[in-house]
Symmetry: C2
Subunit: 222 residues, 2 copies
């Protein structure tokens, strides 16, 4: 009988992705670029959070954005409209960003002129989680209208993100989002990760989030 | 040189899924069960729409629900709490329901006692689209807080669904959702599909949606 060669397609793809992501992270380290990956459902406000953060930290860091979407360039146009370098990755049909896609995004930027780089992943609470992008920090965003039960239904993203932002606090009165229940559910999955409530619309709560992020970038610096 | 055997894993999986879905649909036809697949982002209100529709049509049809989630059984508990048969499928990590998962859900129900069966897909605007569940009708749900730009970013679901529901119209005053722009964008991708604006919270607009759905079920009947 001949030997059997076992080819586990999914594991091979994930393993190749992990290796490339580690190489990207180390390249970014050499160039002192701090990469933050934003993940959420469609419409939670990833682009709005990035634009608010750009505004708030513009005197502190040189920043740029890589936008990921299945289609369209509306998000990159919005970021560019604010005066920051923006790259739009269109995935066609793919449901998350891979390290190979991020590599193409990095190639389109002048990394020597960037300290802090934001990556907006595809709107999806499931698929982006297992795919390392090379980011130093993974931030998961949720918005009040989506409900406080999301940690029960999508536990993996809540287990693995480094920080959480709860957006659209300005409309909290019109939804039955139980903040205590949400914090308890996240706390059981990920007790160390901070949770920032804020409104990208009014700007309320943006300062503490930006101050925490700025500290994280500073802690990475020589 | 030997012959080359080309194995296209993704195409094989999709093709097997399509075959099984067609078989499920034909089994359901034989038993006069009409299956509706609901798809949306996390937190758009799929479960709320299903519960409202159950309430509204309970004198007309015998109904049941198959709930899909990555984890937890909170949605099935809610449906069962309303007095309807409910099956919860937990996918573990999978980002969409396959026909094989739906088949297991169907096995857990007494189909002879059901006219109208609802399937709640995983909260995801991308992955469920390509995977036929065996449903007769595919309904995509969006909510006002998610924004009117979703047809630009997730065109495939807007191209392929049979009908659209826009939920959370009760909070329309607090968001800058441009309904005309949304209808124009959907119309370009899918001019035939109706769009129902409604609020699962207040019940506003639920009647026209239910009346349309009821006609669709009736049209399928002998």
């Amino acid at each position: 009988m001949s030997d059997i060669t076992l080819i586990n397609i999914k594991e091979e793809i994930l393993s190749e992705n992990r290796e490339l992501a580690a190489r990207l992270r180390s390249d970014l380290d050499e160039k002192s670029v701090f990469l933050v990956n934003f993940m959420s459902s469609p419409g939670s406000g990833k682009t709005s959070l990035i634009v608010r953060t750009l505004e708030h930290l513009k005197d502190q860091f040189q920043m740029a954005v890589i936008e990921g979407d299945v289609d369209s360039a509306v998000d990159a146009e919005r970021v560019a409209g604010e005066g920051f370098p923006a790259v739009q990755i269109k995935t066609g049909g793919s449901c998350h960003l891979t390290a190979a896609m991020v590599e193409k995004g990095l190639d389109a930027l002048t990394l020597e002129e960037i300290d802090l780089l934001f990556l907006e992943n595809i709107g999806n609470l499931i698929c982006p989680v297992g795919s390392d992008t090379g980011a130093h920090l993974n931030v998961a965003l949720l918005s009040i209208p989506e409900g406080d039960d999301k940690p029960l239904k999508y536990p993996k993203i809540f287990q693995t993100a480094d920080a959480f932002v709860v957006n659209k606090t300005d409309v909290a009165d019109f939804f039955d989002f139980d903040e205590d229940a949400f914090r308890r559910r996240v706390g059981r999955l990920n007790p160390e990760a901070p949770i920032f409530g804020l409104s990208c619309k009014t700007g309320d709560g943006v300062a503490p989030w930006c101050s925490w992020l700025s500290d994280r970038v500073g802690a990475k610096r020589p």
